[in-house]
Amino acid sequence: MHLRRGALVIAAADALTAGLVLFGVFVALPARWWPVDTAAAVLASVEVAAAVGVLAPAPWARRVARTASVIALGAGLSTASALALTASWLSGIYGPVGRGGAIVLAFIATLVLPYLVVLPIVQLLWLGSNRKPVRALPEI
C-alpha cells in the first residue's frame, strides 16, 4: 500500500514537472526558439515516461523510469552548472552582483532545483530501494 502510494506521489510529481516545463516554455515565454522548444519537449516527454514507468506494471517500466530520472537529473545538473558558470562569468565581468543579482540568481535556481534535481534524486533512490515491480506487492 505504501509503495503504491509512493509510486502515485512520484508519478504525480513527474507529470507536474512535465506540465510546468511545457507551460513555462510554450505559454510563458513570449517567443519561439527551437533549441529551447526542443529541449523542453524532450524533457517533458522524459518526465511523462518516468511517470508511466513508475506506475506501469511491466518489467520494462522501471528501466524506463530509471533512465528518465537519470536524463532529468543530467538536465538539471547541467542547467545548474550553466547557471553557476553564467553567474561567475557575470560577476567576473560586472563585479559583485549585490543583493538584487543574488536574489535573481537564487530565484532562477529555485525554479530548476526542485523539479530537475531533487525530484530525480528522490525517484532514483526510491526506484533503487524498491526493486520489485509495483504489481507484485501483496497489498495491492
Binding site: 537519470v70 553557476a84 558558470l85 567576473g92 549585490g98 538584487g100 543579482g101 533512490l125
Partner: protein, 556 residues
C-alpha cells in the same frame, strides 16, 4: 543506482562545478591597479569628436600627432585615459560579446598583426554604443555593447575589415580611468545635497528646457547630446509637463528669459492643442484624445497663473477641468480616452493618467475654488489608493504611483480622514517598496547609488529616479503633517538625498564637456541613464520637479 554511487556522482558534480565557476570567475575578473597602467591613451577632442589619439608612456608626454591636432584646433581638449586593467571576452556568441563590457566603465581593444587599437569608454559614450547590444523586446530592454559599431570603429583604426577583426583579431575588454584622477561625477554625495546645490541644479535643468523652446513655443523634444541634434517625435503630455516645470523655475529664478519660454510653451498648448471635446475643451490632436494631456495642461496653466506669469491662463482652466470631470466614472476612476467623432468617452485605462487627473483637479480647486473639482479629485484619490489597487498580492507589487502620491499631498489639508489616512498609508508602503528597489553602493558596477532598478546588469534609468523622488518628497511632506515616526522620516530623507545626489552627478555635463558637440546647448539636461545620452524633455522635468519639491521641503 544505489545511494552510495548516486552520492559519489553528486559530490563529483558539485566539485567540478565549484572548480569551474572559480576558474571562470578568476579568468574574467579584472585585476585593477591604478598605479601601474598597462597603457595610457591620449585623445584630442574638438566639437564633440575625437580628432587625434595616441598611446603614450605617461600623461603629459609630447606626441607629434596630439600636438598637431591641438595646434590645428584651438580650444580642443586633450584627455589622458589610463588603461588600468584588461581581460578576455567571450566571442562565441554575439550576445556574450555584447555583455562582456560594463557600461560606462569598460572599453574594447583589438590587436592584429602587432597593432592594437583602443576604444575607450569616452569614445563609446560619444558614439552612444552602450546598452545597444542585445534587445529584449518583451520587456522593452536593451543591454550590452553595440558590437557592430565598435568593430566598425576599430576596423577603421586598424585598416582592416570588421570581419577580419571578428575572425583574426584578439579582442579584449579594458578598464579605463582618467589619468588626472578627476572623476568629477563622484564629487556629489547625499551629504552635499543642500538648498544651494539643489537650487543650482534645478535652475540649470529649467534653463536647459527653456533654451530649447522655439519662437512658436515648441520644445526640443528629444536631443542627441553628443551631437546636439534634435531627433524626431513629439508628445503633448510631456510638453505640458515640461511647461509646468519651466514655469516653476521661472518663479524660482526670476529669470525673464525662462519666464518668456514658459509663456511661449503655454501659449503653444493654448493655440495649437486646445480642441472641442463635446461640450468641453480638451488637449490633444486628432479624433482620439487622451486624458493625460489635458490633466498636465491644467497643472501647467495653474502654475503659470499661480506664479503670476500670466493670470489670464486661469480663465482656461475651468473648461478643461469640466472635461476631466466628465471623463470620471461613478467609482472615481477616469476613462482615459475620448472619441471626438462619436463624442463619447472611451473607458480604457493607461499608465499615469488617473494620478495626473487627480492632481490637476486638486490644483485647479486650489486656484479657483470650484468644489466640483475638489470632490472629483478626492473621489479619484480614494479610488486610486483603495479599490483601484486591491488584488491578491497588491501589498507586494506596485505600479508607478508618483502622481497619486503628489495628489495625496496636494489634497491633504482638504481631504477627510477616511481618504487621506489610507492614502498616506498607501504612499508610505509604496516608498518602502521603492527603497527595496533602490540601489546602494556596490549594488551595480556603474554610478547607481540612489537609483531604482531590477538588477546589477541593467543600467538604471534616471527618469524613474526623478519621478519617485517627487513622490517621496510629497509623501514626506504629508507624512510630517500627519506626524509619522522619526525613523520613517529619516528613511524617506535618506532615500531622497541619495537619489538627488545621483541626479546631480549625472546632470550634464560635469567634466564630460569634451564629449559634446555643444556643451552649452545641453548643459543642465538630465540624460536617460548614465550611458544613454538622449535627452527627452520629461527627463529634465521629473528630476527638476523633484529638486523644486526638495527646495519647498527645506524652506518649510
Amino acid at each position: 543506482m544505489n545511494p552510495g554511487s548516486l552520492a559519489r556522482w553528486l559530490f563529483a558534480w558539485v566539485l567540478v562545478t565549484a572548480i569551474a565557476t572559480a576558474i571562470v570567475h578568476r579568468m574574467y575578473s579584472l585585476d585593477i591597479d591604478g598605479r601601474r597602467p598597462l597603457a595610457i591613451v591620449g585623445s584630442v577632442w574638438s566639437d564633440g569628436a575625437i580628432i587625434a589619439h595616441s598611446v603614450v608612456s605617461r600623461a603629459g608626454e609630447r606626441d607629434q600627432g596630439l600636438d598637431a591636432a591641438l595646434a590645428s584646433h584651438p580650444g580642443a581638449t586633450l584627455v589622458y585615459e589610463n588603461i588600468v586593467a584588461e581581460g578576455p571576452v567571450l566571442t562565441w556568441f554575439d550576445w556574450a560579446l555584447a555583455l562582456s563590457f560594463v557600461p560606462g566603465r569598460d572599453g574594447i581593444s583589438a590587436s592584429i598583426d602587432g597593432k592594437t587599437a583602443y576604444l575607450t569608454p569616452d569614445e563609446l559614450l560619444n558614439h552612444q554604443a552602450y546598452d545597444k547590444g542585445v534587445s529584449l523586446p518583451a520587456i522593452q530592454l536593451t543591454v550590452g555593447l553595440d558590437v557592430p559599431l565598435s568593430l566598425a570603429l576599430l576596423s577603421d583604426r586598424l585598416g582592416r575589415t570588421a570581419a577580419d577583426l571578428v575572425h583574426h583579431a584578439r579582442l579584449r575588454r579594458i578598464r579605463v580611468a582618467r589619468a588626472d584622477g578627476n572623476e568629477s561625477t563622484t564629487a556629489i554625495t547625499p551629504e552635499l545635497v543642500d538648498k544651494s546645490t539643489v537650487r543650482a541644479a534645478a535652475i540649470a535643468a529649467g534653463l536647459y528646457l527653456a533654451r530649447g523652446v522655439d519662437g512658436e513655443g515648441r520644445f526640443r523634444y528629444l536631443v542627441d547630446a553628443p551631437t546636439n541634434r534634435t531627433l524626431p517625435g513629439y508628445d503633448w503630455p510631456r510638453h505640458a509637463g515640461a511647461t509646468y516645470f519651466v514655469a516653476q523655475i521661472a518663479a524660482l529664478s526670476g529669470d525673464t528669459e525662462i519666464a518668456y519660454a514658459a509663456l511661449r510653451a503655454a501659449a503653444y498648448l493654448r493655440d495649437h492643442a486646445m480642441l472641442d471635446c463635446g461640450a468641453h475643451r480638451c488637449i490633444g490632436e486628432g479624433t482620439r484624445i487622451e486624458v493625460g494631456s489635458t490633466a498636465l495642461t491644467v497643472i501647467a496653466f495653474v502654475e503659470v497663473a499661480r506664479t503670476g506669469l500670466d493670470r489670464a491662463y486661469a480663465l482656461l482652466v475651468p473648461e478643461l477641468t469640466a472635461f476631466l470631470r466628465a471623463q470620471q466614472r461613478a467609482d472615481g476612476e477616469f476613462m482615459h480616452e475620448y472619441d471626438r467623432d462619436a463624442n463619447s468617452p472611451i473607458d480604457v485605462q493607461l499608465l499615469y493618467y488617473s494620478g495626473e487627473a487627480a492632481l490637476a483637479l486638486s490644483r485647479a480647486h486650489s486656484l479657483l475654488g470650484n468644489t466640483l473639482d475638489l470632490e472629483a479629485g478626492l473621489r479619484s484619490l480614494a479610488y486610486l489608493v483603495g479599490p483601484g489597487w486591491k488584488f491578491l498580492g497588491s501589498r507586494y507589487y506596485w505600479g508607478e504611483e508618483h502622481w497619486t502620491c503628489q495628489a495625496m499631498d496636494d489634497l491633504w489639508d482638504r481631504a477627510p480622514e477616511h481618504i487621506r489616512d489610507p492614502a498616506l498609508d498607501f504612499c508610505l508602503r509604496w516608498q518602502a517598496f521603492s527603497r527595496k528597489l533602490q540601489y546602494g553602493e556596490g549594488d551595480a558596477p556603474g554610478d547607481a547609488d540612489g537609483a531604482y532598478g531590477f538588477g546589477p546588469f541593467i543600467t538604471p534609468r534616471l527618469t524613474p529616479a526623478g519621478s519617485r523622488t517627487e513622490s517621496a518628497l510629497a509623501t514626506l511632506d504629508a507624512g510630517l503633517r500627519a506626524g509619522i515616526a522619526p525613523a520613517e522620516r529619516a528613511d524617506l530623507e535618506r532615500q531622497i538625498r541619495r537619489t538627488l545626489a545621483l541626479l546631480m552627478r549625472q546632470q550634464l555635463s560635469h567634466g564630460r564637456e569634451h564629449l559634446l558637440a555643444d556643451p552649452n546647448a545641453v548643459a543642465g539636461a538630465i540624460p536617460g541613464s548614465e550611458v544613454d545620452w538622449q535627452l527627452r524633455i520629461d527627463y529634465a522635468q521629473h528630476s527638476g520637479c523633484a529638486m523644486v519639491r526638495f527646495l519647498e521641503y527645506t524652506a518649510n
